[in-house]
């Protein structure tokens, strides 16, 4: 029997994967445990990543440049985001939670100011510009451009709620719905394909880890889980009775 950290990791991986997949049988302790582990590990992962990738180099790297060595010069003005960040954490202390509002106000105000221009430029003007018909192209392409323009206009009419969707407006908005439905169908297809490819990836892992090289991790854990789940469901049905 081979025993090293990679093998332990593979056994943990198989256990976690099967625990999550056990949800197909119904809500059970295996799923609940793995779900809770996922929440805790994700929180820890985000915490570590934010600290080492963002706060440490970009904030402390400017406040203590020689100690951190992130390649920035000393910038005392960065004391302001540090104070605002600490204010954000005061949300946990009820008597001081109002201070968090100032930090939130900074984020909201800054995002509003920065996005105002960016969205007008890239998501409105550029999109309208791209929807224009280019008459220098070939017949087929001009037809496609006309169709795109028609689709964009009709779908925007559908989003216009200041006028009741009746008569001409209703007919145009109906065409808009058709374009939106095709878009949603395409997005849906992408979502299904993405999930299926993830599932195939998981099954491939489970199959490759069922060999002797990994001490038959998948079959052993799978059989053990089936037995335990069987006992658990039998006991819970007995308790219900």
């Amino acid at each position: 029997m081979i025993f090293n950290f990679e093998i332990i990791g593979v056994w943990v991986l198989v256990l976690m994967t099967l625990c999550i997949l056990s949800y197909l049988y119904g809500d059970n302790p295996f799923y609940k445990i793995s779900e809770h582990i996922f929440v805790g590990v994700s929180a820890g992962y985000v915490f570590a990543l934010v600290w080492w990738d963002q706060i440490w180099p970009n904030l402390f790297g400017r406040l203590f440049p020689e100690y951190v060595g992130a390649g920035f010069e000393f910038s005392p003005i960065y004391i302001i985001p540090l104070i605002l960040g600490i204010f954000m954490l005061f949300r946990l202390i009820p008597s001081l939670s109002w201070l968090a509002r100032i930090a939130i106000a900074y984020i909201v105000g800054m995002a509003a100011g920065l996005k105002f221009y960016v969205y007008i430029n890239s998501n409105i003007l550029m999109q309208i510009q791209n929807s224009a018909i280019d008459l220098s192209k070939s017949g087929g392409e001009i037809f496609n451009h006309i169709l795109i323009l028609l689709g964009v206009f009709s779908a925007l009419v559908y989003f216009f709620f200041s006028k009741e969707h009746k008569g001409t407006v209703g007919a145009i908005s109906k065409i808009g719905i058709y374009f939106l439905m095709i878009k949603f169908g395409a997005s849906f297809g992408f979502a299904v394909m993405g999930r299926i490819s993830l599932l195939i990836g998981r099954f491939e892992d489970l199959i490759s880890y069922s060999s002797y090289q990994y001490n038959y991790a998948t079959p052993i854990i799978l059989i053990s889980m089936i037995v335990i789940l069987g006992i658990w469901s039998f006991q819970s049905s007995e308790t219900k009775k």
Binding site: G9, Y23, G40, Y45, V46, F47, I107, A112
Partner: protein
Amino acid sequence: MFIKRQLAIIVMMSMGFLALSGYFLNFSVLREFTDRDAPQWYMIIAGFAAFLGCLNLLQLHIQKVVNKQKNWQYSIFTLLGFIIMIVFAFVYKNVDTPWGPHLKDENSSFYWMYNFIYLPLASTMFALLAFFVASASYRAFRIRNFEATLLLISGVLLMLGRVPIGAIIPWWVVVIMYVSFLFAMIASKIKNRKVFFISFICVNLLCLFLGFQLEWNTSTPLFLLIPSIQEWIMAVPATAGSRAIMIGIALGIVAQSFRIITGRERSILGD
């Protein structure tokens, strides 16, 4: 009272004006602040907000364990997962790589946790949705109207066009699909079922005959190839739909930003 309520609104409005004016005033100090420092500050404070979320989660689960609330046993796993990740991120790294870059070192304990616990859990959690998406799609496609049919056709064609089997579907299958779609659209107009089916079969046969006459079996036109149809759907009608959605969202964001900058929108601060 002023400092508790009005100060936040003043900060919100002034930061909004400051950020926006960076695009319109040719003042280098302001420009540098809005281009470099302001987004950096934004990311730093957002990082602290992420810390707040983690600490809040920790607080919640500790309370659950201490008060022995319902299913408190599972909270121990959450706390353990969090603490182990924190230990491997800040206390013990198992490699000589400096603190920080050790997160991406394949031999570090943190990476072990990421690779063997976080990654499989996250991907299996999303993979599990494949089953629920299948059941949701079945329910969605049971709604028999034209819009749902468009959704179904667009989704199925996209999936078929992006897998190898889509490329080997012969032209005559696509012709039958086109004719079926056409008849599905006019089905409500033809009351007599016998007439409907006879005309459906006749049109199919006619189209197939025409296809063989035009030698579509040797040189298939693009509109009869599933991958090409899929590409066209993505390039034309789906683009039109997504463009309209993008413009709609952008208009909403601009309107909301205007309300925030002018101090009309206060609900985001909890007012």
